[in-house]
């Protein structure tokens, strides 16, 4: 299957932070949630891909084309919405969209108008007079109107209130669910993406160290309580382990394997609890690299 993007040994360093080396890709038509705490490197990862930051080393491609500043065709396939929404501030929505339409052969004015209507976006207002929520909407319309094959969303709803956020996400997901495009959605708020994602990748301290299909998380991850009167309890695929006397509580990334191990060890009162995606994400982000080992 065609790769929407690839990162190969990509490194970007700052005085107090190093991103990478990153080696990962996204297949066309797949939705990848990119989850990590603030400062983990999500935005830098996307900025390097769209060309807003120059990587120190390594290569990146978008649908097979290198992200070369002087051969800009690779940008035609990208729709990008970041945390900062940049426009010609004294121009209204129509003027900003007309300006952008000149650069994308696939731009559809009808599609842009339809999207604006769906988002209930006032296109006759100047960009600088738009509320934060409406600026997000204008960015989304601008990113989607040329039907990009790759959509890069970097915490697009940050800074807007929960009501508008829910409204924006509802419409956005409705639109995205019907399209056949690769989506890379960076966020630290997992519920935002858990509805849409096929896969989730977790980043922290500049490294993508865990990536999994979403179903694997909900099927394999469990919180298990059991009683076992032994001191040398060693279990594989454990992310978190708490013990109070003989009573144990573990969070595991492969429930079936743990249950087999517990039976072999003679554990009793085994109680298996499913976990929500959010709980799993918290455990993964707290558990760090242990998850990979598990």
């Amino acid at each position: 299957m065609e790769k929407a993007f690839t990162y190969t040994n990509m490194i970007k360093t700052f005085p107090d932070f190093k991103l990478g080396p990153l080696n990962f890709d996204l297949e066309s038509g797949t939705v990848l949630g990119f989850v990590g705490p603030n400062g983990a490197g999500k935005t830098t990862t996307i900025h390097c891909l769209v060309g807003l930051l120059r990587a120190d080393s390594g290569e990146m491609t978008v649908f097979g084309r290198a992200n070369n500043l002087n051969k800009p065709e690779w940008k035609l396939d990208i729709g990008y919405v970041g945390e900062i929404h940049v426009f010609y501030e004294r121009w209204n929505g129509h003027q900003n969209l007309n300006f952008l339409s000149q650069f994308y052969p696939n731009w559809s004015k009808e599609r842009a108008s339809a999207l604006a209507r769906r988002f209930n976006l006032p296109l006759d207002k100047r960009a600088k007079d738009l509320s934060t929520g409406n600026r997000v909407k204008l960015s989304l319309v601008a990113a989607l109107a040329h039907s990009p094959r790759l959509l890069l969303l970097d915490e697009p709803t940050s800074g807007i209130d929960p009501v508008v956020r829910a409204e924006v996400l509802d419409v956005l997901f409705e639109i995205l669910e019907t399209g056949d495009r690769a989506i890379f959605y960076a966020t630290h708020v997992l519920p935002e993406i858990s509805r849409l994602a096929d896969e989730l990748a977790f980043i922290d301290h500049g490294q993508v160290w865990f990536r999994t299909p979403k179903e694997d998380l909900t099927e394999k991850w469990r919180k298990i309580y059991f009683t076992l009167a032994r001191d040398d309890v060693r279990l594989a695929a454990i992310v978190h382990h708490e013990r109070e006397g003989d009573r144990h509580q573990v969070v595991c990334s492969d429930c079936a394997s743990i249950l087999v191990q517990l039976k072999e060890l003679g554990a009793e009162n085994i109680q298996e609890n499913p976990m929500s995606i959010e709980e799993i994400a918290v455990q993964i982000l707290k558990g760090g690299r242990n998850v990979e080992a598990g």
Binding site: F14, P15, G51, N70, K71, K75
Partner: protein
């Protein structure tokens, strides 16, 4: 590139309109009224035009850089780095070219065959405009390579010294020769450098410096570490 230039002019048309109108007034007042009877003297009209446009170019550049994150916006578009870098410079160059054209058209009835010295002064003025246009961008592009507060502080000192030196040079070349002389004040003050502006060598050097800085501005843009601003 031209789509960006067109947008730049459309977006900033009030500033361009005011600048154009001021330039036209300067041209009419100075180009005809003052230079005409005083053709064998110094050429204050050309100099004032130069000062006005160069200052305008510098002012517009600074304003543009301080306001909106235009480089970030344009970098996301499917355009080459060269096209984006040039588009930052071209609108002011177009305005300057229009002013030069107007100048010739305005003075044509009076001086069908312009004196050599005027041509050279114009070339030098063009060099000044190119420099004033490119320098703010060069400094902002270079600043994306600075990694810590020490480097940034050092760069600020270098920049301050450079701007100071540039202003001294500019005033030495122009103010003592133009504004004051127009006002007929400080007539004895005469720059030792300014006569070179009216020579082939001097004007050629200024124009060359302007072209080199314009090229450097494109080069530094393409070498930037970041386009987030």
């Amino acid at each position: 590139m031209w789509r960006l230039v067109k947008a730049d002019i459309q977006y900033n048309w009030p500033i361009f309109f005011i600048a154009g109108a001021l330039a036209l007034i300067l041209l009419i007042v100075i180009g005809i009224i003052m230079e005409w009877p005083d053709q064998d003297q110094d050429l204050p009209g050309t100099r004032l035009l130069l000062m006005a446009i160069a200052a305008f170019a510098f002012f517009v550049r600074i304003l543009r850089m301080m306001g909106e994150k235009r480089d970030r916006y344009h970098t996301l578009l499917p355009l080459s780095g060269t096209a984006i870098a040039l588009s930052r410079l071209v609108s002011v160059i177009c305005l300057w070219a229009a002013c030069v054209l107007l100048y010739w058209l305005t003075t044509l009835p009076i001086r069908p065959y312009p004196k050599e010295v005027i041509v050279f002064e114009m070339l030098a003025a063009s060099g000044f405009v190119l420099m004033a246009n490119a320098l703010p961008y060069i400094q902002s592009d270079i600043s994306t390579h600075l990694r810590n507060s020490f480097q940034r502080a050092l760069w600020m000192i270098v920049r301050t010294i450079a701007v100071g030196a540039g202003m001294v040079l500019f005033f030495t070349l122009n103010v003592t020769q133009t504004s004051w002389r127009i006002l007929r004040v400080f007539l004895p003050l005469k720059s030792q450098i300014s006569p070179y502006l009216g020579s082939l060598l001097g004007s050629g050097l200024f124009l060359l410096a302007g072209i080199v800085l314009t090229w450097l501005s494109v080069h530094f843009f393409k070498k930037r570490k970041a386009f987030v601003e």
